[in-house]
């Protein structure tokens, strides 16, 4: 039997008094597209950030590709990994942010080649060819030498997706990738994500786009107050929710 790509076990995380995650456990299987839905403050973004180690878990553990993230177990105690090792683990995941976070002083192409050349130390011309191919894949071949400020929000987010893909991750994390976009620009980003899902990429998507979840997700996970309330196939969770809280959330959103 195959193993889950991501195994989350009893993960909790607090910010001061606020408990963002309360002992969350979850598996993500290779090739699976998972959508995380829920109100703001429900912990779905924090869960994503823990997987990418932008947030450090307080308790529990996350395994990615069989490797425990952020810490090493040794004689019954956990020791934090060095920054370099954490950087290496991060290369297995690609992160797409709500606010794009492109590097404003670099062109679209330079944004994409920065990681492969600087972090992975790969050859510039080989990386460039791949980056141009990625730009073509997200429909932005003509914008290679443009700076982020010259691109629309939707175009910036597509460059950000290409930047994450350039590191050849096993898992793509999307943190509300369309929430900062004007309504008419949402579609172009979702189209790129659909194409990516079709290509077999394992994806975790925090989103409010229920239409996208219904169409693309293999599994929908509804979170509330730092815990998973309900999960299952998109048609079940979105179409016939069992939990009262899920019903209340869906009726408020739609």
């Amino acid at each position: 039997m195959t193993k889950p790509l991501v195994a989350i076990r009893s993960v909790s995380k607090s910010f001061g008094e606020f408990q963002a995650l309360k002992s969350v456990s979850l598996d993500v299987w290779p090739g699976e597209v998972m959508c995380l839905i829920g109100a703001s403050g429900s912990g779905k973004t924090t869960l994503l950030r823990c997987i990418n180690q932008l947030a450090v878990v307080d308790g529990g553990g996350i395994w990615l590709d069989g490797e425990l993230l952020g810490v090493r177990e040794q004689s019954g105690r956990l020791h934090r990994l060095s920054e370099r090792e954490i950087g290496r683990q991060r290369l297995k995941t690609g992160m797409v942010f709500q606010r794009f976070n492109l590097f404003p002083h670099k062109t679209a192409l330079e944004n994409i080649t920065e990681g492969p050349t600087q972090v992975q130390g790969r050859k510039a011309d080989e990386v460039r060819t791949e980056a141009l191919e990625l730009l073509r894949r997200v429909g932005l071949s003509a914008k290679a030498d443009w700076y982020p400020a010259q691109l629309s929000g939707g175009q910036q987010q597509r460059v950000a997706i290409a930047r994450a893909l350039a590191m050849k991750p096993m898992l793509m994390l999307f943190d509300e990738p369309t929430s900062a976009l004007d309504p008419e620009l949402v579609g172009e980003v979702l189209a790129v994500m659909k194409e990516l899902a079709k290509s077999g990429m394992t994806m975790m998507v925090v989103t409010h786009e229920l239409g996208f979840a219904r169409e693309v997700a293999d599994r929908v996970v509804y979170m509330d107050q730092g815990a998973i309330v309900e999960q299952g196939r998109a048609t079940d969770v979105l179409g016939a929710p069992r939990e009262e809280r899920t019903k209340a959330f869906l009726s408020a959103v739609i």
Partner: protein, 285 residues
């Protein structure tokens, strides 16, 4: 559905009419007043006890030209030292390591907290504290031989400048959005590489105007090194007027050179600003 009603009467067509020039009386009056004041000042100087022939004779005297070259050399080197120290200290200050943080804060406190002229005198007189300096067993020398006016001025000005520059740099780094750190981390960068490749280039855009300010300050602060016998332009001008008593004339000569240097620096700063504004100032689509 009702037809669209015709436009109402009473609102004439203004297209094609120009907006008349305003007279701006106050601008003319104020300009005239200022010209009068300037003329009065010029007249006062022309009739004052200044021998302008001395000014023009010493303006390009060899000693004065050597002085301004020494001023510029010292300003550039001390500023370079200040910027290097400033970047290092700013990074230490923003590091999670409490030891580095405290050391950086202590450095800033010490060198901002005492007058620059006092620091220059301390460096120059280091031999009074440590007659010989060196690395035990490797190398040693008499402090009076090592601590020349040049080295004392460089250390005094550069280390003092580093304390101020570190705060400028820190402000620049803090101005970069936290999302940029996260995006850099997300593509696997460690802290120093993210600083070097992503954060500092963006911070430079913010810090160049204050650094230009600091550099102009540095050009003039080199004049303090005259007290420790560094032969910069003011020191050389003083030496001349000790001999010929033409105090004001030589101070005007020195002032002219400072003004000229600072006037050249301003457009240079503009060029640098444009370089680091990549991706920012370009017109949006």
């Amino acid at each position: 559905m009702k037809p669209v009603p015709a436009l109402a009467d009473g609102f004439p067509d203004l297209s094609g009419m120009r907006i008349a020039r305003e007279p701006h009386w106050f601008r003319w009056i104020s300009a005239a007043l200022i010209v009068l004041v300037l003329a009065a000042i010029a007249r006062a100087f022309a009739h004052g006890q200044i021998e302008w022939t001395y000014v023009s004779r010493f303006l390009t005297a060899k000693v004065i030209l050597e002085g301004i070259v020494n001023t510029m050399v010292m300003a550039v080197l001390a500023m370079a030292l200040g910027i290097v120290l400033g970047i290092v200290v700013a990074i230490m200050r923003l590091s999670p390591n409490p030891v580095l943080k405290t050391v950086a804060a202590g450095y800033t406190w010490l060198f901002r907290g005492t007058p620059l002229i006092l620091q220059l005198l301390l460096w120059f007189n280091l031999a009074l504290v440590f007659p010989t300096i060196g690395v035990p067993g490797l190398w040693s020398a008499r402090a009076v031989d090592v601590m020349t006016p040049f080295l004392a001025a460089l250390l005094g000005l550069g280390i003092n400048q580093g304390a101020y520059t570190s705060e400028v740099m820190r402000a620049g780094m803090l101005s970069v959005d936290i999302g940029q750190y996260e995006a850099a981390q997300a593509i696997g960068m460690h802290r120093l590489r993210a600083l070097h490749r992503i954060i500092l280039p963006q911070a430079m855009r913010v810090v160049i105007p204050p650094l230009g300010n600091e550099f102009i300050g540095m050009v003039k602060a080199t004049s303090l090194a005259s007290v420790i016998q560094y032969p910069e332009v003011l020191h050389n001008a003083e030496n001349i007027y000790y001999a010929n008593s033409r105090v004001i004339e030589l101070l005007i000569v020195a002032g002219f050179w400072y003004l000229l240097v600072v006037s050249i620096l301003t457009p240079l700063q503009m060029l640098l600003e444009r370089r680091f504004a990549r991706g920012i100032l370009r017109p949006a689509r």
